[in-house]
Symmetry: C2
Subunit: 419 residues, 2 copies
């Protein structure tokens, strides 16, 4: 079969399965999730065996230690996947909720019903556990899924796919509700993102270059984030102790995450007082500082920042520092150089807190809290499929609701429209 | 200035203006709308004069009568634009609404704030009144607008643009909040839809070929609908009188609208009884019928339908008719051949009504009501910028809410994340 026919078949099967999933009961979906957990448990030896093939291939191909670590499936990680499935089964089902039913002057009643998006394509890189994470959230929200993992995790993903389809069948749901593409041909991705008749939305999970490529070529809506260039602005009305806690947490909790602070803005009136304290606490943790001329004048260990630094998500123990004249300059800087992901103000001033929340154009805006909270679990969604920096549809951490749509429903009793 | 520099300038100005609009008060936006109404009133003679140029050019270019009619600005249509501005001023302002603030286990409070999308690009064809309709809804929802009208309405649109910017200035808002592109170069559209740094969403209004072209080439999200291939399914449990009223209204109220019925599905058990009544009522109104073999056996005046007919939005006094064995077949037909716009069931059966609402994958699903109700005014939104058949972001009639986004806001008091 040609790749095109294969992808079309995958698409048609996904669409057909989505019709059945859309009317599956919560109980049936939960049963499938738990049956998938059982199937993973049973498949444990096979999973580790198949993963070994990927690990050996990866070593032969010269993957670095970090990539090999992401690729590895061991008992703890399989436990994690099983636990994840059980957790998703406990989440409330968003599907079918009816809201806003109102009688209108014409006599009809109009409201909205929450429904699945339909078919979701997930494109991801080396970590095989994404197969389970993504499939479980899509299934719970009534969507069928087409998964395309990295070629380096091919055998692991196929083994996981088998367990998934066993679980689906055990619960009486179509095994095509979750399909893992069984070819490593890169053209399969090109097909997947240009089949709007079969795929309703694409969620790419991986490095920036992967996501940029997909966004550029997709003919299907993409839920994505490219960058997490997050800021903390320390205002002249900031409480010093809170500023220190928040700055340290936002930068040093973890360096490789998208909600880490990459740029610190500080009001000129408090820079002499507070920047030395903040800088030495950060440097003690091993954070390298670059900054504007004014910040260098206060803390001599700060190296000069280039224009490019203000745009940069370091993903590393490095931070850019800028002194600003006032909050408006901080907001303008964030809106210009930031990535519209997550930005925070530290201030005790009520009016400024209110204005910062309104004017900063980001998916999450925080007052006196660490940017690290921008996360589906911390926001109480139980799980997340990713974080969106897009403005349409899902913005910020995307949980089950982001995988749904609302259609209008109208109830009448023979009503017709007059004019 | 090159077209590229010109479009970049337009984009930068729109982005800068959007920052000011995002924090403009409701009162200020309403004042601008009313000042725009006054400015249109004052400009009335100039509008008619400039429109005359477009009309003359159109006649010379050989535009047909329907297009010339859409192009025409007369006193009644200017009254309509002025009235529209005043109505939008009375609509509730969606911006700034905060919902769902919840305390989470970490101690932070998390909710969502409704904010403008930012910059909206509107691409439309001949009708100059769209300039006002679109600009007023975008302004009320705090967005700046870049408008690109049809070249045939160039002079009319420029004259309207001048009145708009007078109104904005009078209310102390930046005139760049609404910009009308002042070139007829078609490449301007190509630029507009590929500037994600300056434009947040594109709303194309016009024929299917325009919208298809834009969707294909856009690098910016598009809110659109391509087709309105709407169905009414008359169930074997339908009330006959209601079925007749609804079928007639859905088909014959207006033929050129996207919420008109284009296909009638009827249950085999009631086809002998009801189809002759429905067919003769429709034919009396001048509707041409094509249909499946079974429908032809019952009503001899029905001509044979081709496979293509089931996909077709006639926009004309023509209807396809299909006899189905049961509701499941009707739903499968609608989901396969329909355009996911608006579909209705006529039935007194509770269980079927419930299943139809759940399983039909359309932006609006109706029970015992005419498809003609799928409309922003009828749904109580006060106005609409269009109807979306997309599943993500706005689905169905799009009012002010569809032009907004929700960002997360987090309140803490020095909170940091532990793990």
């Amino acid at each position: 079969m040609s790749l095109e026919s294969y992808m079309n078949q995958i698409g048609q099967q996904a669409r057909a399965a989505s019709r059945l999933l859309a009317k599956a009961s919560t109980q049936q979906k939960n049963m499938a999730l738990l049956a998938m957990a059982d199937a993973l448990e049973t498949a444990r030896p096979r999973l580790i065996e198949e993963n070994l093939k990927d690990m050996q291939n990866g070593k032969e191909k010269g993957l670095d230690a970090a990539m090999l670590d992401r690729l590895l499936l061991n008992d703890a990680r399989i436990d994690g996947m099983i636990e994840g499935l059980k957790q998703v089964a406990t989440l409330p089902d968003p599907i079918g909720e009816i809201t806003g039913m109102e009688y209108l002057p014409s006599g009809i009643q109009r409201g909205q019903m929450r429904v699945p998006l339909g078919v979701i394509g997930i494109i991801y890189e080396s970590r095989p556990n994404v197969t389970i994470d993504a499939a479980s959230l899509c299934l719970k929200s009534g969507n069928s899924t087409i998964l395309r993992g990295g070629s380096e995790a091919f055998y692991s993903n196929q083994a996981i796919a088998l367990a998934i389809s066993e679980g689906l069948s055990a619960a009486g749901l179509p095994p095509e509700a979750v399909q893992v593409i069984n070819t490593t041909d890169r053209e399969a991705v090109g097909q997947l993102i240009t089949m709007p008749e079969y795929v309703d939305v694409i969620v790419p999970r991986g490095g920036k270059s992967l996501i940029e490529r997909i966004s550029k070529d997709a003919r299907v809506p993409v839920i994505k984030h490219l960058d997490g260039n997050c800021h903390v602005y320390v205002d002249n009305e900031a409480d010093e102790a809170k500023a220190l806690k928040i700055v340290l947490n936002a930068k040093t909790r973890r360096y490789g995450v998208c909600n880490a602070m990459e740029s610190l803005l500080i009001h000129k009136e408090v820079v002499n007082q507070q920047l030395p304290v903040l800088a030495s606490a950060l440097e003690e943790k091993g954070v390298e500082l670059v900054g504007c001329v004014q910040s260098q004048a206060v803390v001599s260990s700060i190296s000069p920042a280039t224009e490019e630094d203000w745009y940069t998500e370091y993903h590393a123990p490095k931070l850019s520092v800028k002194v600003v004249d006032n909050m408006d300059e901080a907001i303008a800087h964030i809106n210009k150089y930031g990535s519209h992901h997550t930005d925070a103000i530290v201030s005790q001033d009520y009016t400024k807190a209110r204005a910062f929340m309104t004017e900063v154009d980001s998916a999450s805006v925080m007052v006196n809290a660490s940017t690290a909270f921008a996360d589906g679990f911390e926001y109480g969604f139980g799980a997340e499929i990713g974080i969106s920096t897009d403005k349409i549809h899902a913005r910020g951490p995307v949980g089950l609701l982001g995988l749904t749509s609302q259609k209008y429903i109208v109830l009448g009793d023979g009503h017709t429209r007059d004019n």
